[in-house]
Symmetry: D2
Subunit: 211 residues, 4 copies
């Protein structure tokens, strides 16, 4: 499950999607089915609940997220910070704190998180670290080298596609590492889920679980 | 000019507005006229131009920003990061880089920037530093102590209003300092604008300037 | 293996150590042997290699890190950012990129990373996200909820010990979650190491590996 | 007054110094006397007071800082974050909060702050925004475009000097803008100091000032 958090609606070209497609290439080679949602193409509302009502399309996206084993968030950088759409997605995931999985952990437990960042210059570490940290708080496991990014040098300049970023050696390496480790961990956690010991939500009562 | 970047639409209560109102109290005592816009109440589109068309209400907000001497951005914190609405506002200000003031500087030159942050716990330094840095890149001057924030202690908890934040000594002090310094600098820059020497946009040509 | 990155030398009281001791309580209950090093008590040099020579005591610390299954970094916050000593430790870990484990991955692969943060107010998300992200780049796995922190409210104020932080419900919960998940993952990775597929260092040659 | 916060001692080459030297070129052309201190060459101790005793060389550096009108901090980036030496310098400036200038403001009031950042890839926005924000908290004024940085593209690669960064158009432009605006503001504040109204330290008493 990949969420593209570009701020540009289809059919405009998304550089972030172009790099996410390289991740998908690897995931598919490894036998993983992939689905991408370009969030800005949907009517997702600002908020911190899982359903803001009145036509809010987040619940349909959230359903796909909860059904997946791997969650990859792709974001461009604007002014050194992850995109407004990415921040909105993270804010909406706040709603998951109010429910649990079948054993009383946060619903994103046993999912694996990764991040894809593109910008024409600076900000990948900040965008990636915040996003992976947020995902780990929500319950995701972060494997080693769970990020990939492409950036140009200082100042304005061509973006990933125009700059031929798909041939950038460092980004190619990290893209492959990320995909492999996401899959290694998804398979490990499918076979050996995190035991619900010491990490369940206080007050959670299996008898009343309706989740 | 104050932009409240809460993610909650009116008439829901905004804690950020409550702290912004304390800043306004001081500004008004100092003889400064204030206007607040709650961005999420307007149909502002994602994008990086100054007009995304099709009913986009950013141009009207931008016009107010460009007419002001002081720009204060108020933002809540979600997941340790400034709000999606705040990030959207900063992204939209990117469009100002394409124009100049009458002497060839970025349009926000000679304006003074400040920031108001509220959260129930952590993240004020990150939200404030990113936002003030972005404003300084756009042309604003950042006076000493140009931020004020209120936060509760670690973890979930009551927000500014419920916690009686208006009586918090540290926040009261920084609110007053911020307001005074914004006004000191706005008056100083009104009398002594930044000379257009060494800081004009390359290629800017006064003969063809159309504003 | 826990590294306390306070900037205060022994015997001065370290609030960060006090919270780290709560993590240790849980780890020991779970049958994990613990060792803490207070970095500032040792003569660790600035640099990015694994041995800066001339009495540098980092090599001895690094040896302990490499021998451990779990790496927890504890840091105070100063000016909203992790401590200089913490940053120095991360810089020194850069040297590990030049070596691999027996199967060609970075040496910190199959280790589990966590972070403990204390401050009298703001900055825990930034300190924790940067530090966990750096650890994940170096090869560590970051389990869900791999951080714990304590903070007071906005502005100067009492620190963890004086404020009775050991009774703070949120921090107690996250401390327990963190300890349990570090142990769950350390045991999982001991039994099922990350396969060296798609994540080994380019150019690595098992025939010439010298550790 | 420029503080180079490289982690490499003399006579090792400092890329940060190379970009700082371009700032100095501009400042000298504008008639400003410049002094640079490479902090790591001095025996500066970890701490948050202005004198940690026992041969601590920070007091001598602080004296130079307090005597200057402009304070520029230069820092490399390691792991996406400003250097440990830069963080140590900011921590030491904490000590200035305990004193005031002659009119009861923090001692860095009426000084102008700027930042120079170099890295072989990412992290300039984070390093610059944190550092300028800290300086503004300490009392410095931050002019528009008060930062300059050079970065290569994603991943390891040549640094500023080797990459010919001195010919990088964007960095050249921002270096010139920064220098001009630092000087504009230093001159403006020399003629029109910030009035000590609404921004003096609570409890400050001019009769007992020994500052």
């Amino acid at each position: 499950m990949l969420l593209n958090c570009t701020i540009k609606k289809s059919p405009e070209i998304s550089n972030t999607q172009a790099l996410m497609d390289r991740v998908i290439d690897h995931l598919q080679e490894l036998g993983v089915g992939c689905e991408t949602i370009r969030v800005v193409d949907h009517d997702v509302r600002f908020g911190v609940s899982s359903d803001e009502g009145d036509g809010d399309e987040w619940p349909r996206i959230l359903e796909r997220v909860l059904g997946a084993d791997i969650l990859v968030i792709g974001t461009p950088i604007w002014f050194g910070v992850r995109s407004s759409v990415c921040q909105m997605v993270i804010e909406r995931l706040d709603g998951t704190y109010n429910t649990t999985n079948d054993v009383g952990q946060y619903p994103l437990y046993n999912k694996v998180g990764g991040v894809v960042v593109t910008g024409n210059e600076d900000g990948a570490h900040d965008a990636a670290s915040n996003t992976l940290f947020n995902l780990s708080h929500l319950g995701c496991t972060i494997p080693p080298n769970a990020d990939t990014y492409w950036l140009g040098d200082a100042g304005p300049g061509p973006s990933y596609i125009e700059a031929g970023g798909e041939n950038h050696e460092y980004t190619k390496k990290t893209t492959s590492w990320m995909a492999h480790n996401l899959v290694h961990f998804a398979r490990m956690l499918a076979e050996h889920p995190i035991p619900p010991e010491g990490n369940t939500v206080p007050g959670w009562d299996p008898a009343h679980h309706v989740g």
